[in-house]
């Protein structure tokens, strides 16, 4: 049955996370925007509360057959993410345990790997100085030596690379064999040969460190590979092995798009609050062409926000119900990213000096939101994925 409200349970998830964001994140937004590269220690408490909520017994769940519609973890993730990113995206990314590496370990790790590393803060190392969106082109190598892997190479743009305890590192077993030879490896921080060489200074999300990490003859135990060490030989196997890696992005793109929802909502809430003090309200009745330019622009932003929000929910709902959602995940990431950029910057402009001044957070929201249209696949990469699916093109036809 077509119904586009989120369930009561997820509404509660949203409200709880929103309270947490309001009281335990937002008050520190400016502090860590200024103090770049300082670990926001206040987030440890947020992490503890989130962990506690996550491990709460959920009570009896009715047995559900596969024909029943499900609203599960994927919707919960986007709903919670929107609320926390409303608080502060930089601080969210600095919450221990929020890393992409954690997602990878939990998704494909063995029971032992999950037990040993699942609760640590795991960062993801994919990008290299010469390789961004074309992640199949990485050059970091992993070579087997007895019962160890030896890693060599340089990784950049590692979110929380400094702060994390564990790294999940993409490396190739044999570059000449392409995508199929790319595997990921778990490297505990402090392993000899693994070194943080630089922290980036950034436009936004300054509360979250972004590190360059080098690996020189960095040795890890054989069991630290995620998945198996085989290199597929036939075309289908190659597609499957790398496709499997890329598919994890189908699950992570909606939550990243939800980050854009959170920041955009924060900017809209703040702008509307500031404007209401000057007598500007929305009645959702006068049509935009009869309104003031400010009101019309606010309506447009609210509409863009709502469109993006529903695309995110749709992609998450598909994931919850086992429907392939590669196209929809990229659609919501594309729409979310550009909506976030448009809304946050427009809020700065509409509020003029109040928007541009550091006395308010609007300028910070605009700076923070930019990253959402870049990481986890840029706007253009998402458009490429959507276009290929809509047009029925392969990656060699539509490059």
């Amino acid at each position: 049955m077509i119904q586009l409200e989120i369930s009561e349970q997820h509404q509660k998830t949203y409200e709880n996370a929103r309270l947490l964001a309001e009281h335990m994140m937002r008050p520190y937004s400016r502090k860590y925007d200024k103090a770049e590269h300082t670990f926001p220690k206040e987030m440890e408490e947020v992490s503890a509360i989130l962990a506690q909520n996550a491990s709460k017994p959920r009570g009896d769940k009715p047995e559900k057959d596969s024909a029943t519609v499900k609203n599960g973890g994927n919707i919960a993730a986007v709903v919670g993410m929107q609320a926390l990113a409303w608080g502060d995206l930089g601080l969210f990314l600095a919450i221990p345990g929020s890393g992409l590496g954690n997602a990878a370990i939990n998704a494909v790790g063995t029971a032992e790997q999950r037990a040993k590393f699942g609760k640590t803060y795991a960062a993801m190392c994919i990008t290299e100085p010469g390789t961004g969106s074309d992640s199949a082109n990485i050059s970091t190598t992993a070579v087997r030596d007895g019962d160890e892997w030896v890693l060599n190479g340089e990784k950049i743009y590692v979110t929380a690379g400094q702060q994390s305890d564990t790294l999940v590192v993409w490396a190739t077993l044999d570059k000449s064999r392409g995508k199929a030879a790319i595997k990921s490896f778990i490297v505990p921080k402090g392993t000899p040969g693994c070194e943080v060489t630089r922290l980036e200074h950034k436009m936004g999300i300054r509360a979250s460190d972004t590190a360059a990490i080098s690996f020189s003859d960095c040795r890890i135990p054989l069991e630290n590979i995620l998945g198996n060490a085989e290199i597929a030989v036939d075309e289908e196997g190659r597609k499957k092995s790398f496709g499997g890696v890329m598919q994890t992005f189908d699950n992570t793109r909606p939550p990243v798009a939800a980050m854009a929802l959170g920041i955009a909502r924060a900017a809209l809430d703040m702008a509307r609050d500031l404007l209401s003090k000057e007598g500007i309200f929305l009645d959702y009745s006068t049509k935009p062409s009869n309104c003031s330019a400010i009101e019309a622009e606010l309506y447009k932003m609210e509409a863009e926000f709502e469109g993006a929000r529903l695309l995110v929910l749709k992609a998450a709902w598909m994931a919850d119900n086992g429907k392939p959602n590669s196209k929809e995940a990229s659609m919501c990431k594309a729409k979310g990213g550009r909506m976030g950029n448009y809304v946050t910057l427009r809020c700065v402009e509409l509020c003029q000096s109040l928007g541009y001044s550091e006395q308010n957070l609007l300028e910070k929201f605009a700076r923070d939101s930019k990253i959402v249209d870049i990481f986890e696949g840029t706007q253009q990469i998402q458009q490429l994925i959507v276009a290929r699916q809509v047009l029925g093109k392969s990656s060699s036809e539509l490059k």
Partner: protein
């Protein structure tokens, strides 16, 4: 019992009935609408038998209670939206004509009295197409549907209407019209206007688009209507009427844009330039991707408003925002569709 819990989950699955009518609507849109759309646009008229065929879809009589001769189906804003979307895939103007009588019927069901239902609705149940529609829009650049300037004033036991309405579907020939007017000192009201009362002039107008549809301007000069023709016993809920209309228009926009997307997808995949399909180029492909993205957002916003209306939740903000989004993006999708076809898009 279980369904209560289920109903509150986010879900985009059409139910069995909606799936069945999807098949019917899609077939009708492809075979009966798209087939005649181009020629109908060129001659600026609907083929004579077209609306009789639409009567077979039963859209108007579905929600009418069985005792009045209808099918007695529960009125569903979501199903209505889906039907409008599926039909408008074929052609926006013909779909708008097809669902216009439904707007009249639904408003009488929604806000009319029992006596009014008994008086007007059986006319829709004899299997033939009845030209009926609603008259809301007025010919002013700053027209606001919430503030009609067409007026009604009491005249003895009855009322007289004054003012102008425009873009009224079947405006020249409609047997039944629902006219929205402002009742002096009271607020908005809806009046059923039957046949050709004195003081009503109907003038056919031509437009940039919607050319097949018989759109007319109605001029009321002290036009008498009986008191029994004023819809409902209480004040007319104009906001509700306007919001439901907005959902209808957004649904038509969604269907029309889906038609554009499907047409363009096929074209750019077949059209070659420089030795390969033009869809192999990002400049083309990204436009198509953006069409698909914005179209899906339009669809979801429209369905959310419809589904809130169906559940009895407040839905005005959602309908308002859906209209804002559809007005912006439908235009972009349409003109980008023309652009992607190049000269072929510009030529009729």
């Amino acid at each position: 019992m279980n369904s209560r819990v289920e109903n509150k989950l986010f879900d985009l699955t059409r139910d069995d009935e909606q799936r069945m009518s999807q098949e019917t609507m899609e077939r009708f849109a492809a075979n009966e609408i798209r087939e005649v759309a181009k020629n109908a646009d060129e001659v600026g008229a609907t083929p004579s038998s077209f609306f009789e065929k639409t009567a077979e879809l039963g859209l108007a009589l579905l929600p009418i209670p069985e005792p009045l001769g209808g099918a007695g189906m529960l009125r569903s804003p979501v199903s209505n939206s889906l039907n409008a979307q599926d039909l408008a895939w074929g052609d926006l103007a013909l779909a708008l004509g097809t669902i216009s009588p439904q707007a009249f019927v639904n408003t009488v069901l929604d806000q009319g009295t029992d006596a009014q239902r008994e008086q007007y609705l059986p006319k829709f149940c004899d299997g033939r197409f009845l030209a009926a529609s609603t008259a809301l829009t007025e010919p002013r650049a700053t027209f606001d549907p919430m503030v009609p300037q067409c007026t009604a004033r009491p005249d003895g036991d009855d009322y007289v209407l004054s003012g102008e309405k425009c873009m009224v579907p079947f405006g020249e020939s409609a047997e039944l019209l629902l006219v929205i007017a402002y009742l002096e000192d009271n607020g908005p009201r809806a009046f059923v206007v039957e046949g050709s009362p004195k003081g009503l002039t109907r003038t056919r107008e031509e437009h940039m688009g919607l050319r097949t549809l018989e759109l007319a301007t109605l001029r009321f000069e002290d036009t008498p209507v009986p008191a029994s023709a004023m819809l409902g016993e209480k004040a007319f809920d104009l906001q509700r009427f306007v919001s439901l209309s907005r959902i209808g228009l957004c649904s038509l926009a969604v269907g029309c844009c889906q038609g554009v997307l499907d047409y363009v997808t096929e074209y750019v995949n077949e059209r070659t330039a420089f030795g390969e399909p033009i869809s192999n180029r990002q400049a083309v492909a990204f436009m198509v991707a953006d069409m698909a993205i914005e179209l899906d957002a339009m669809r979801l916003m429209t369905l959310r408003a419809a589904s809130r209306a169906e559940q009895g939740l407040d839905f005005h903000e959602q309908a308002f925002l859906a209209k804002v989004a559809c007005a912006e993006h439908a235009m972009k999708i349409g003109t980008n569709g023309v652009q992607l076809l190049g000269g072929h898009g510009f030529c009729r």
